[in-house]
Structure formats: structure tokens, C-alpha cells
């Protein structure tokens, strides 16, 4: 909680600013939309977080989102498969992609950046080739399956806010992950591996398997996320679906307090980091700034946010120092 204070403050500041100066920020409908988008992106960011904790990086997240997001309607609509076979198949495929990355990285000792960059190109390429660059969508069908992402729960006394169904898997994943990191042997081992691989290995930790596992989890979550994304948007174009999502996911994780040096996990931070990025995007529209400014505002606010966070931290460290010295 204390570690996430900076990002939580930034998040609240943006929310408060937007609800004062923007239109309809606090409307149930907007909050519902934001919950939904945060939930969707969080899945990717949590995956990215696991790999970052393990001291690696995964640039292929966006492309895995694309591949699974394109394959789902492609198999369902174009090929008429049943959802009961498509969903497991797509998830297995994404786990297999992660396994592939993990093995290349741990067994062949290739650099994670290069392996997953190749993945970035490869999976999107496969998606484009498979579909002949045609966009894929549900064409109004499969309402039942899509309700995984589109379902909404009525909540009494909250006006037109309805809780998106996607929140459930996200919460389950986040809690599980938080629990893993703080309470299980494997979480410990992953943290140790991320910070000092050889030290962990010398302590008998099966580091290669843990690293591989982290990539599997990341790709699996990316695949699951991709499926939810396509259920949510209804259709996608292979050439741009999920573009840059890896950067958003990594940014959210890093913003949430996962250092890229590895070995630091902060599940709450990741969720808040994701929410911050998405609230910022919405704020730009609600404040009527125009989409031209979107990038500039997001970049500027984030930079200001992290710089202020650092300065505040230093200042308070110095203050604490001074206080304790006086009390000496």
C-alpha cells in the first residue's frame, strides 16, 4: 500500500480534476466503461508484471492479443467451430507461445528482448496471413459467449452503474497473484530469481522453470485478454489490433512499481497504474482537449507524475532523516 502511494495519488488527482472540469466523469455509465477498460488492460498488465518480476520483458503481448483476438472470431464465424473447442484451443495456443519464449530464453539463453520482439512480428504476421488481412468479427452473433466480456451485474443503489463481468476474472487473477507473491514458495522463488538469478540457482531454486513459467503466465494472460478484447469490441483488424498494447501493459506495470531490474512485485500498483493510463485517455475527451493532444497529455502527465513522486519520496526521506537525528 505504502509503495503504491505515489501512483494512487496521481490516479486520484486525475480523477478529481476530471470530475470537476470535465463532463459526466462521475456518471455511472462512464465509471462502468472505465471499470471495463481497466479490467481488460489489467489482465495484460498483470501478465507483463509477472515477466518483469522475473527480470525479463515481453514485447509480444500486443501481438498475442492480436493473434488470439483474431483467431477467436475467425474460428467461430468463418470456420463455424463451437466455442467449447475454440476457447480452450486459443488459450492453449497462447500458453504454448509463452512456453516457446520461455524455452528459447532459458535453454538457448537468447535475450528476452530479441525473442519477444521476433514474437511481436511473428504472431501479428501469422494473424495477417491467416485472415488475408481481413478484419474479423462476430457479425452480431455469439451473444452468449461474448457475455463473458459484455455481461453486467446490476448493483443496487448505484444508479446506472453496472458491474462489468470482466472484473471477476481480473480480481481472481490479481488476488491469486498477490497471494502467490506474498505467501507461496513459488512467488518467493520468482522474486528471488528476478533479482539475482545465480543466487537463486545456488539456493536450489529451479530458476529455468520459474522463468519459463513467468512467460507462460504472461502469454496466457495476453491470450485471455485478447479474447476478452475481441468479445468486447466485436471485431478487429489484424494489422492494428493490439498495437502498442505491450507498451501500455509494461508501462502500467512499471508505473505500478515493478522495477525492470526484476524482483519487485506490486499487484495493487499494477491495477492502479493501468487505471491511471485509461482514466487519462478518457479525461482528454471529457475535458474536450481533442484527440490531437491525447499523446502529449498522457506523456506529459505521466512524466510529471513519476518525477513528482520521486521528488516527494526524496524530500520525505530527508525529512525523516532530520527528524530522527533531532530525536537522537
Amino acid at each position: 500500500m505504502k509503495k503504491s502511494l505515489g501512483i494512487i495519488t496521481l490516479f486520484l488527482a486525475i480523477c478529481i480534476f476530471t470530475s470537476i472540469y470535465g463532463e459526466g466523469f462521475l456518471s455511472g455509465y462512464n465509471l462502468m466503461n472505465l471499470t471495463q477498460r481497466t479490467a481488460l488492460f489489467s489482465i495484460l498488465a498483470l501478465g507483463a508484471g509477472v515477466v518483469i518480476v522475473a527480470g525479463g520483458i515481453d514485447l509480444s503481448i500486443g501481438s498475442v492479443v492480436c493473434l488470439t483476438g483474431i483467431m477467436t472470431p475467425w474460428l467461430l464465424v468463418e470456420h463455424g467451430w463451437s466455442p467449447w473447442s475454440v476457447i480452450p484451443l486459443v488459450l492453449t495456443m497462447s500458453a504454448a507461445i509463452g512456453l516457446f519464449h520461455g524455452l528459447l530464453i532459458t535453454r538457448l539463453r537468447l535475450q528476452p528482448f530479441l525473442v519477444t520482439l521476433c514474437g511481436l512480428l511473428l504472431y501479428r504476421g501469422i494473424a495477417r496471413w491467416m485472415t488475408g488481412d481481413q478484419s474479423q468479427g462476430f457479425q452480431g452473433g455469439f451473444e452468449d459467449v461474448r457475455s463473458i466480456a459484455l455481461g453486467r451485474f446490476e448493483i443496487p443503489f448505484l444508479g446506472d452503474y453496472r458491474l462489468p463481468a470482466t472484473v471477476i476474472p481480473v480480481l481472481v487473477i490479481a488476488l491469486l497473484m498477490g497471494f502467490c507473491f506474498s505467501r507461496t514458495v513459488w512467488g518467493r522463488w520468482l522474486l528471488a530469481t528476478g533479482r539475482n538469478e545465480s543466487a537463486a540457482r545456488y539456493s536450489g531454486v529451479p530458476t529455468a522453470w520459474l522463468t519459463t513459467g513467468a512467460y507462460v503466465v504472461c502469454s496466457l494472460l495476453a491470450g485471455f485478454g485478447g479474447m476478452l478484447f475481441i468479445f468486447d469490441t466485436g471485431s478487429a483488424q489484424p494489422s492494428d489490433f493490439g498495437n502498442f498494447y505491450e507498451l501500455y501493459a509494461i508501462a502500467a506495470a512499471v508505473l505500478g512499481g515493478c522495477s525492470l531490474r526484476g524482483g519487485e512485485a506490486n499487484v495493487l500498483g499494477i491495477l492502479v497504474g493501468t487505471a491511471t493510463l485509461l482514466v487519462l485517455r478518457t479525461a482528454i475527451i471529457l475535458l474536450g482537449l481533442g484527440s490531437q493532444l491525447e499523446f502529449a497529455v498522457i506523456g506529459g502527465v505521466l512524466l510529471l507524475g513519476i518525477a513528482t513522486d520521486e521528488l516527494v519520496r526524496r524530500y520525505s526521506a530527508r525529512r525523516a532523516d532530520r527528524v530522527s537525528r533531532v530525536s537522537h
Partner: protein, 521 residues
């Protein structure tokens, strides 16, 4: 098992691990060949040898860190039946009841102390950690090694010596049948060392087999039951404790006897080179420190682990920010480390892996890094001069193997230490600060390094060094400052100092406590 009396010892020992004709090659080059020995329970087997003799390599093979390329390992099970074993990973070794304390620190520093101690073997049920049990047990093992810190402290915030003790606690906590320690005392001061030796004696009495490597021959002589001497990767002798003394060991290790350097004339007339007034390191809450070092003088800082010596040296070198001031030749030292190195202040750091070495770079690069700046011509490196310097430093520091293009990671620990000192000796600084200068360096090379430091002082440089080895402080220093809890509590001229007097000040306690510790060695 009941504690055995010394004469029951022989009866109690039983071979648990056999090494037959074991050898190892790194990239095709033999580092170890034809090692045959037996490790017995209830016995301390010391392994001694020069830097690069292959001690660490042997220990790594026994503990599954390296896989040996020649020969066989055999272990005995409880019933005494022998079976050949391949140790392909640390897990295999752990299963065979073998634990290793590495020469270099290997902790996952983002974990807390308890987490570090139990990493890989956490008490758990269905994968869930049992944190309470873990902390309880961690406390027990910390107490064993005499470390009074909370098990939930982050390892990042600990000093080198404390980390070393945690490594030892970690190995102890495996309750291994065979405990292997690679220079466990190199960063400990006398106090902790005495404690560790006492602990090892207890373990021996309980039937644990102990393999022990140290460059401190008095520790070896105080503890070992048998001594194996390695030289250039080969076994050159195996002696019973009763059959060896210091001179004999030195002879076997180095091939010659080491003669103590003659005492240096005391300098009281020379100008003050370094003047430190009310220095307080910014990140620690300490008392202000004041001291002076004259030109040509070698001053030693003695003290226990955590006494604050490192902080003083780092503050003078500009590594950490500080209040108060330090003056060199009457000029105030300003700015960060880079600036101070230029004005002639060099610090040989305590943690060589983290702050000293470029492990993936060549020996040449490591040796010449500080020199190239001093001798550059319009920003260009004088390459021919650089080659000459590297060769000169390799022979001066006796780095082995003398291969300038070897990656420093592939050097033995002691040779790595020599290359760090060499880098700073190469620039003949006006003020040389050394933090644990001969950690892990063998007796022969240590004498040589001491000679080099003296030689530098003779040219008029000031030298200030911190060492946890009283012996080294007494041997090298012209004047000794003793630190206790961040303050300088006393000063001795080298001739007037005795170990007991220093220990008394360093512990802040009575004379008796200190002398008892020495006696127990």
C-alpha cells in the same frame, strides 16, 4: 548425538564423501586435476593453497555448482554403504546433505533475512509459506552466528559482513551432513570469527563433516583436524593437524617461507595530507568523525563489523554525500567520486563484485580503467602505454594466470581482489583509501600487496585503510585508529599497540572480554 570429547574424536569419525581423481576444465583449460580425498564426519578438513590453486573449484564441484569433468564422487548413506553420485545441481548436493557457503556473496537482496536464509527450502504446506515458522527458525540461526537483527530486515540494507553471516546461517540451517565453507571469515572481524570457529567446533562434535577454506593460517591451525594443500590444481600434500605448523604450510603452499617486512620508521614530521573534520555520512545517523593522515603515513582503521569504517572511507572518497569536510593538502575535497579521483583520492571498495569489478570485461580493462584517464592525450587512450602498464601491474600484483585478455569472472577470488587494488595503485594516488584490502588474498600475495602499499607511502602518499583482521592492521599500519559504533574511540602508534588493547576499545567493553576471545581462537 552426544557431544564427543577430543579423544573420542577418532572413533567417532566416519568417511561420508569420497573424491577420486577428480578434475575440472574451464573451456578446455585444466583448473583441477587428480584430486583424491575423503571427507569424514566429525572432522574439519581444511583446504589451503595459493590464489587460483583450485580450492573454490573443488568446493563448487562437491556442492553441485559445477559438474566435474573427470573422476568420481561417492557418498556414503547412513548405513555406511557407498554409492557413486553425480552432482548436477545444487539440489542434488542438498539431497546428499551437502551445503556450501560461497566465496562471493550470493543473496537475493530483495528478500528479507528470513527469506534469504530459507530460499529454496522454505517451510511450506502445499506450497504455502509458513511465515511464522520461518521467522522463528531464522531467529534461531541468526542467534547461532551472533547476528542480532530482525529476520524481516531487507538484505539490501545490510553490510558485507552481515551478509556473510547470513550466508553462513543459511548453510547452517540446512543442517547438512557436510558443511563446506569457502573463505567464510574473509570479511569478518576477530569477534565474529572467534564465534564462528566455536560454532564449527560444536558442529564437529555433533558429527558434521566440515570443509573449510581460509587464507588465515592461524584459523586453519586452530580448527582443522586435517589439512589438504593444493597447488596449481594439484594436491601437494595432506597433513594431520599434529604434523603441521605455519612455516610448513607456507612452504607447501607458496614454495617458500614468508618473511615479515621490517618495521617502517614512524613519520611524525611530515606534512598533514588528509585532514578530516566532523565528517558525517549523510545516509546514516552517526557521530561526526575527525582524523588526520600525514604524507607517507599508513593509518589503519580497526573495529568490529558495523563500526562505521566503510562509511568514513566512502564519505572521504565522495561516494556518499556527507557533512563536515575533508581536506587534501589543505584543499577542500569537493564533488563526487569522479572529481575526487581526479584530485588524487582513490578508494579500493569493500564489495569487489559490486563496486570494484567489471566481471565480464578483460583483466586489462579492469587494471587500466583509472590509469587511462590520467595518462590520456587529447582524450585518446595511449594504447602502447596501456599495454605496458597492464603487464607491469600483472607482475606487480602477481595476478595469476597472467593473461591480460581473460575475463575477470574467470579469475579466482583472490586474483580478482588483486586486480581491483592494481587498478588504483596504478594511478599512484595522493591519498589511497582501502577497505579490507586483502580480502581473500593468500599469504604470499598479501605480503606482496603490503609491500606495494608501503612503497606507495614511501613516495609520499597518504594511506588510510580499514581491515577486520587485527593481524593485518598491526602488520601494515604506522598508526591505528579504533572505531566503535561510528566514533573513533582510540589511537595507537603501531609499536605500542597490541591486539588485546585494540579489541578492548573496539568492543567498547573490558579488557577481559577481548582477551578471552583471542584465547578461544
Amino acid at each position: 548425538m552426544p557431544a564427543a570429547s577430543p579423544d573420542a574424536l577418532a572413533a567417532n569419525t566416519r568417511a561420508v564423501l569420497r573424491v577420486r581423481d577428480v578434475g575440472h576444465r574451464y573451456d578446455g583449460v585444466a583448473a583441477l586435476a587428480g584430486i583424491t580425498l575423503e571427507v569424514r564426519s566429525g572432522e574439519v578438513l581444511a583446504i589451503v593453497g595459493e590464489n587460483g590453486a583450485g580450492k573454490s573449484t573443488l568446493l563448487k564441484i562437491l556442492s553441485g555448482v559445477l559438474e566435474h569433468s573427470e573422476g568420481e564422487l561417492e557418498t556414503a548413506d547412513a548405513s555406511g554403504a557407498w554409492s557413486a553420485c553425480r552432482m548436477q545441481s545444487v539440489r542434488d548436493a542438498a539431497r546428499a546433505g551437502i551445503a556450501l557457503v560461497h566465496q562471493e556473496l550470493n543473496l537475493s537482496e530483495n528478500l528479507d533475512v528470513a527469506g534469504c536464509i530459507f530460499l529454496g527450502r522454505e517451510p511450506s504446506r502445499f506450497g504455502m509459506l509458513q511465515l511464522a515458522a520461518m521467522h522463528r527458525e531464522a531467529k534461531h540461526w541468526l542467534a547461532c552466528v551472533g547476528l542480532a537483527i530482525d529476520p524481516s530486515t531487507l538484505c539490501e540494507s545490510l553490510s558485507i559482513a552481515q551478509r556473510q553471516l547470513i550466508e553462513i546461517a543459511k548453510a547452517l540451517s540446512t543442517e547438512a551432513r557436510v558443511l563446506i565453507l569457502d573463505e567464510p571469515t574473509s570479511s569478518l572481524s576477530a569477534h565474529e570469527t572467534a564465534r564462528l570457529l566455536a560454532l564449527l567446533r560444536t558442529l564437529r562434535a555433533n558429527g558434521v563433516a566440515i570443509l573449510f577454506v581460509s587464507h588465515h593460517l592461524d584459523e586453519v591451525l586452530a580448527l582443522a583436524d586435517r589439512v589438504v594443500v593444493l597447488r596449481d590444481g594439484k594436491q601437494t600434500g595432506e597433513l594431520l593437524r599434529s604434523a603441521c605448523d605455519r612455516a610448513k604450510l607456507e612452504q607447501l603452499m607458496v614454495g617458500r617461507e614468508i618473511v615479515a617486512a621490517p618495521p617502517r620508521p614512524q613519520r611524525t614530521d611530515a606534512a598533514v595530507r588528509l585532514r578530516v573534520r566532523d565528517l558525517v555520512s549523510a545516509h546514516a545517523k552517526r557521530q561526526p568523525v575527525s582524523l588526520e593522515v600525514r604524507a607517507g603515513e599508513i593509518v589503519g582503521l580497526a573495529g568490529l563489523v558495523g563500526a562505521g569504517r566503510t562509511e568514513v572511507l566512502e564519505a572521504i572518497a565522495g561516494i556518499t554525500e556527507s557533512r563536515g569536510y575533508a581536506m587534501l593538502d589543505g584543499k577542500l575535497l569537493r564533488g563526487g567520486a569522479a572529481h575526487r579521483v581526479r584530485s588524487g583520492v582513490a578508494l579500493v571498495p569493500e564489495d569487489r563484485a559490486r563496486n570494484g569489478l567489471f566481471l565480464e570485461n578483460s583483466l586489462a580493462m579492469n587494471l587500466s580503467l583509472a590509469w587511462i584517464d590520467q595518462h590520456r592525450a587529447a582524450g585518446l587512450v595511449r594504447t602502447s602505454g596501456e599495454c605496458a602498464l597492464v603487464d607491469r601491474m600483472i607482475s606487480r600484483m602477481q595476478v595469476r594466470p597472467a593473461a591480460p585478455h581473460r575475463r575477470v569472472r574467470t579469475l579466482s577470488g583472490g586474483n580478482q581482489q588483486k586486480s581491483v587494488i592494481g587498478r588504483f595503485l596504478a594511478i599512484s594516488p595522493k591519498l589511497l583509501l582501502l577497505d579490507e584490502p586483502t580480502r581473500g588474498v593468500d599469504v604470499g600475495a598479501r605480503a606482496e600487496i603490503h609491500a606495494q602499499i608501503r612503497q606507495l607511502a614511501d613516495t609520499g602518499s597518504a594511506v588510510l585503510f580499514a581491515s577486520s583482521e587485527l593481524e593485518e592492521v598491526l602488520l601494515l599500519a604506522d598508526r591505528i585508529l579504533v572505531m566503535h559504533e561510528g566514533r573513533i574511540v582510540g589511537e595507537f602508534a603501531a609499536r605500542a599497540a597490541t591486539e588485546i588493547a585494540i579489541m578492548q576499545l573496539a568492543t567498547g567493553g573490558g579488557c577481559e572480554a577481548a582477551s578471552m576471545e583471542r584465547a578461544s581462537l
